[in-house]
Symmetry: D2
């Protein structure tokens, strides 16, 4: 995962996976290379990245402000804003050493305990 000498181009590195699947790890590496090449790692503190995620999530939500229709009207904007939140989450996890798969699996287990099957009630409030 080390990066050496010349900075690989974003485009090249995009295709560098073997297709077998560690999408999260590959995207995180891209983000790392991207940040390092621009000397932006200094800005990627946990707090800055939490603020980034929250502001990107605010932009995604803004597309749905008054109605349900943003997806039909502006699918590209929705895709891009969603991707921004997703990339923010990947970068945060990478910068802080959180294993996203583990953390998500653990949270799913906690949710299953919190909302057991067969118990009446709506979703998490």
């Amino acid at each position: 995962m080390a990066q050496r000498e010349s900075v690989p181009s974003m485009t090249e590195s995009v295709g560098s996976g073997d297709g077998s699947g560690d999408v999260i790890g590959r995207l995180q590496e891209e983000l790392r290379v991207f940040a390092r090449a621009r000397d932006w790692e200094q800005y990627h503190t946990p707090r800055n990245l939490a603020a980034l995620i929250a502001s990107e999530a605010g932009e995604l939500l803004a597309l749905f402000r008054w109605d349900q229709e943003a997806l039909a009207d502006r699918p590209e904007d929705v895709r891009h804003e969603l991707a921004d939140v997703f990339l923010g989450v990947l970068r945060f996890a990478d910068a802080t050493g959180v294993d996203l798969e583990e953390a998500a699996t653990e949270k799913l287990r906690l949710n299953a305990q919190r909302y057991p099957l067969g118990i009446a009630g709506g979703p998490d409030r």
Copy 2:
């Protein structure tokens, strides 16, 4: 990805992957099974999920409200709130048919065009 007869338990389905890697797809299936088993799919409209993501992102940010220290002080809370945002993003993508890997790769390309190497300037404002 098909779901069969009896709803698989969360715990069982967690281990059902072959380990080769489609983490995103596996987690999305878990979320789908979880929602379906509780009859919550009706709530998972794009707009509701955008609001969920924004409120989870607000909770993550709240951990970093005044300083940089949340990670050291409360690593479990950070992991869980990050996982909540991540799971919200996965569910949104699944419910709306967005391919997260494609969307993220496309966004990385756009970012590389927007912030070319060797040009002075801070990160995205």
Copy 3:
């Protein structure tokens, strides 16, 4: 921009106070007139307005994403985004019958109990 007959004009109503001070009430009336004249009151449900406030807050935060400098660089943007959040709060309170002065005063009292003077500790996390 002119509004005729029964609907008071925005501009006129701006100046209609007696200067003695109910700024909140005057702005809320402006917002109400504005929404009614465009038949937008139907959209101003508590949930929609909560989503509006969160997305406006996300936009304000986006100005401060990486550093402290937005205020010096883009004071007009900061003013406008702050005003958007403020107006969202005023509209929410008006639409739901919350007395903002009372609610804020009550919250200040609760905060004073929660963070008594002379006790060590940082601000609310």
Copy 4:
């Protein structure tokens, strides 16, 4: 709840207005006294306060996550979260020297230009 000696009590200062109306100024003074008495002014940078507002807005939104009913079910929580956002806005404006009344009035004028009467179309997206 009373605080004595040199620090003015929150309760006393609440009642110190002449009742004629500068609610915003009075609440801002309370917040300033509160922060100063706890030596918290150092934390109240524009960026920290923007993050506070966004996280409080996320908490308000969380109450409305899946449905419209939070107001009926949990009116106290809604009041308190709304008050938290409101107080954050007041503190931000005070710490940065933004005149909220002016900024809001200006934004209302811009909105009236942007959404003239008699033009078809939904609310701001």
